[in-house]
Amino acid sequence: MKKQNTFIVAAAVTAAVIAAFWLLLAAPGYTGNEINMPRGVTSQSMMSYQLHMIILWVCVVIGVLVFSAMFISIVLHRKSKGHEAAQFTHSMKAEIIWTLIPVLILIVMAVPATTALIHMEVAPETEMTIKITGFQWRWKYEYVEDDIQFISSLHADSNAARRLASGTDPDSVENYLLEVDKPLVLPANTKIKFLITADDVIHSWWVPALGWKRDAIPGFINEAWTEIMEPGVYRGQCAELCGKDHGFMPIVLNVLPRAEYELWTQQQHQGMAREQAETERLWTREELMKQGENVYAAQCATCHQADGQGLAPAFPALAGSGVTNGPLNDNIEIVLHGREGTAMQAWGTMLSETDIAAALTYTRNAFGNETGDVVQPRTIARIKNG
């Protein structure tokens, strides 16, 4: 008798643990972002959410039925209670019933699942296009119609705090790992087409509030679309393992009302004009070194490390390297076009001429390298434009 009690208590504890978890997830009161899929801010995210909740409830009901039958049997049909075993072995009727009923449930389930998938995948007429390029470990955004483009990387605060044993408490960093230097600014209530691709390895662009993720694959251009109903800031991150810093390439959307968005694009164009003027003028060595140090820290140090020592074997040292101390033109060539078969990016399309010139000046005169070269932004512009 005592043994049996222990068993029932233990079984009840286990069942309670499982049931508590399930209820937590399925209870309508607990549908916040913490433990359930977000409802999101697009028609697509609403659809994924609704489908998720329907199929979750179907599963809960099936689970409760099956497990109840089992536990009733476990309580009643035990030898210790003197229950004699029946000897039935099969029933064609039962087999047919529990084959057909699941088939019917699945057919009923397939209807909304199909409708939702068609809605999510078939893009309507869109009003603007954003090209997204994933590369290790940043996102590049190009506003196709507006001729704006920039790179979005992990925010410097998170980037410093996430180093191994950095000593910084992640709780002290705002939006730890989910903050970028330049968010993707989008207009609300606008049908937007995304063209998604990658430069090096496969990434996946995912903002849960939009309701989908789409792989960014080198050599492929995937399409997706959205229409965000509410202005706000939405966060996501890369969802496909893409190397060591896969966990550190977040996505931040800053969704603005239409008018504010127009204002933002104007500011961007003005900024671009200023940048153009900067490229044309002659820079001093000090200016370039200072800017270069910043560019290096933001873009290059992930792989080549802050001290220029690299990270063997994949990421070579720049300190004392034959490239940073060799002919300048070869060095420019590698930075602009990358190096096939390695993680070295083609930075020519990613960074401004000024940033590239500054980074080159810096790396050829830092970490003990002493070429004395001063690389002017307009030199880079000339080489880039052939």
Binding site: C59, H90, P102, G247
Partner: protein, 540 residues
């Protein structure tokens, strides 16, 4: 002790068991010794892979990087999966096949004993080679066990060792499968027709065909990776005219049947254990056989449900969604039949039964979350998150691994001739069953709330559930040491002899032999009648 086992014990003295350690183990052609080798090897790999999981859970205990660099973290996730899939679960099932199939079908040994030896002994070399990459300059594989290019091609020279070790595992699996098929089709005792075979034998027969069908596909895929990496081909390099998505299609054409390779023998074991401790025949034997075959067939036409986000055409996505939903039907049939087997039985709850019941409940939870993942539109959210991690760990850990534990406790008295400690077996079960839920259930929430898989560090909103999950992980990991203790005690110390029948309700040919069984299981074919057959349908 019965007269029957006295005779068998007498026979023991004339079985020409090889003498000397090397002769007995290195050159063995005996199905039981090879089975033991497989099981011991699998247990070792289970702990090596498990210790990698401990590293992963320790790093994920809190936000921020405390213990390992991201690159090493990626090596741990990749190696953990490769070791657990190819080193622990699959060899463990081959160990079960070796020990039990000849005894269950009334054969003296496996059909191809020398190949049997070879298929085991290449495994230690394959895994030594795989593990050695962790100590090489370019480190172990870090692109996930799926080895997706182009990322996997960024690995260094050690990648060649990874590919070669996968080739060796594949050769081992294929040889093992050929042996299983040859044994089952040729060595059954007279009267043991296919539809009288125990379900464990049936599920292994089907598993063996799956293995032969898909292991060469994996070998082809990794060979193409090898030539892309070292010989300048462009199978998967878009810049050279190749197609990185093609690798994913090929990989998952292997990968989806592979997950059934790990679970079908588990279905078989559960179908043996539930009837024994319910003292009632398995319900719906024929339906179980057909359901297993259907699952195996469907496993070949659902592979791209792992790829809903790669940008397939809509019609392709719909096809793979419908086909995947269909799998729920035969899987449901299995669960319903198990519950019906228990229904109106006369149940007792020894350790194997506890693990079997734990399997049915927790595997069903994993199956249901699989049903959720099949809904393509929702999968665009679930994909590559911790929800997926929770799903496949539910079907693999309290699924396959619980079935393995159940099987070990069930047949250990038969294999060794001694009883294990029931008390410690039960303690092992309850700690495992509770901690495995603390470990994996919160991962559903993490995934739904937006935590991607394969990241070494995470945003602070995910902190609580990660900590709970890690605590569950540490308890689960530590509690497996109890298992080793129970098994070691049973093998080396236990004084309580097991009878031939071992369990009151046990049916099937293996229970007609002594415990431990004679070295060459059945030297003369047994007579098959309804009292010796494990499952006899048709008698009401």
């Amino acid at each position: 002790m019965s007269i029957e086992s006295h005779d068998a014990a007498h026979d023991d003295n004339h079985d020409h068991k090889p003498t000397g350690f090397l002769n007995r183990w290195l050159f063995t052609t005996n199905h039981k010794d090879i089975g033991t080798l497989y099981l011991v090897f699998a247990l070792l790999m289970f702990f090596i892979g498990g210790s990698m999981a401990m590293v992963i859970r320790a790093e994920l205990f809190m936000p921020g990087l405390q213990l390992v660099e991201p690159e090493f973290f990626n090596q741990m996730t990749t190696m953990h999966a490769l070791i657990m899939v190819f080193g622990a679960v699959m060899p463990a099932w081959v160990g079960f096949a070796n020990w039990n199939i000849p005894m269950m079908i009334g054969a003296p040994d496996m059909a191809l004993p020398r190949m049997n030896n070879w298929s085991f002994w290449i495994l230690p070399f394959a895994f030594t080679m795989l593990l050695s990459t962790l100590f090489m300059d370019s480190g172990g594989p870090a692109a996930g066990w799926t080895l997706y290019p182009p990322l996997s091609l960024q690995g260094g020279q050690s990648f060649a060792f990874v590919v070669f070790s996968i080739h060796m595992m594949g050769i081992s699996s294929i040889m093992g499968s050929i042996n299983v098929i040859a044994t089952i089709l040729n060595m059954r005792a007279p009267g043991m027709s296919l539809m009288k075979m125990p379900l464990f034998v049936w599920t292994w027969l089907i598993t063996a065909f799956l293995l032969i069908a898909v292991m060469p596909v994996l070998a082809g895929a990794v060979t193409m990776l090898l030539t892309d990496h070292f010989f300048g081909t462009s199978f998967f390099n878009a810049a050279g005219g190749g197609d990185p998505v093609m690798f994913q299609h090929i990989f998952w054409f292997f990968g989806h049947p592979e997950v059934y390779i790990m679970i079908l023998p588990a279905f078989g074991v559960i179908s043996e254990i539930l009837p024994t401790f319910s003292r009632k025949p398995l319900f719906g034997y024929t339906a179980m056989v057909y359901a297993t075959a259907s699952i195996a067939f469907l496993s070949f036409i659902v592979w791209a449900h792992h790829m809903f986000t790669v940008g397939m055409p809509l019609t392709g996505e719909l096809f793979f969604m419908y086909a995947t939903l269909l799998i729920a039907v035969p899987t449901g049939v299995k669960v319903f039949n198990w519950v019906s087997t228990m229904w109106k039985g006369s149940m007792t709850f020894e350790t194997p039964m506890l693990f079997a019941i734990g399997f049915v409940v927790l595997f069903t939870i994993g199956g249901l979350s699989g049903l959720m993942l099949a809904i393509a539109a929702a999968d665009l959210q679930y994909h590559d998150t911790y929800f997926v991690v929770a799903h496949f760990h539910y079907v693999l850990v309290p699924g396959s691994v619980f079935a393995l534990m159940a099987g070990v406790y069930y047949w250990l008295p038969k294999w060794t001739g001694r009883m294990y400690s029931e008390k410690w077996g039960k303690i092992h079960f309850w700690i495992s069953a509770i901690s495995v839920n603390i470990l994996f259930f919160p991962q559903h929430y993490l995934g739904l709330a937006g935590m991607p898989r394969r990241i070494p560090d995470y945003s602070t909103q995910f902190a609580d559930f990660n900590m709970i999950s890690s605590i569950g992980g540490f308890i689960f990991g530590a509690s497996q040491l109890i298992f080793v203790g129970v098994v070691a005690h049973c093998v080396f110390r236990s004084r309580q002899a097991a009878t031939g029948r071992v369990w009151e309700g046990a049916k099937g040919l293996e229970w007609t032999l002594s415990s431990p069984p004679p070295y060459h299981s059945f030297n003369t074919p047994p007579v098959i009648d309804s009292s010796t057959v494990a499952h006899a349908e048709g008698t009401h």
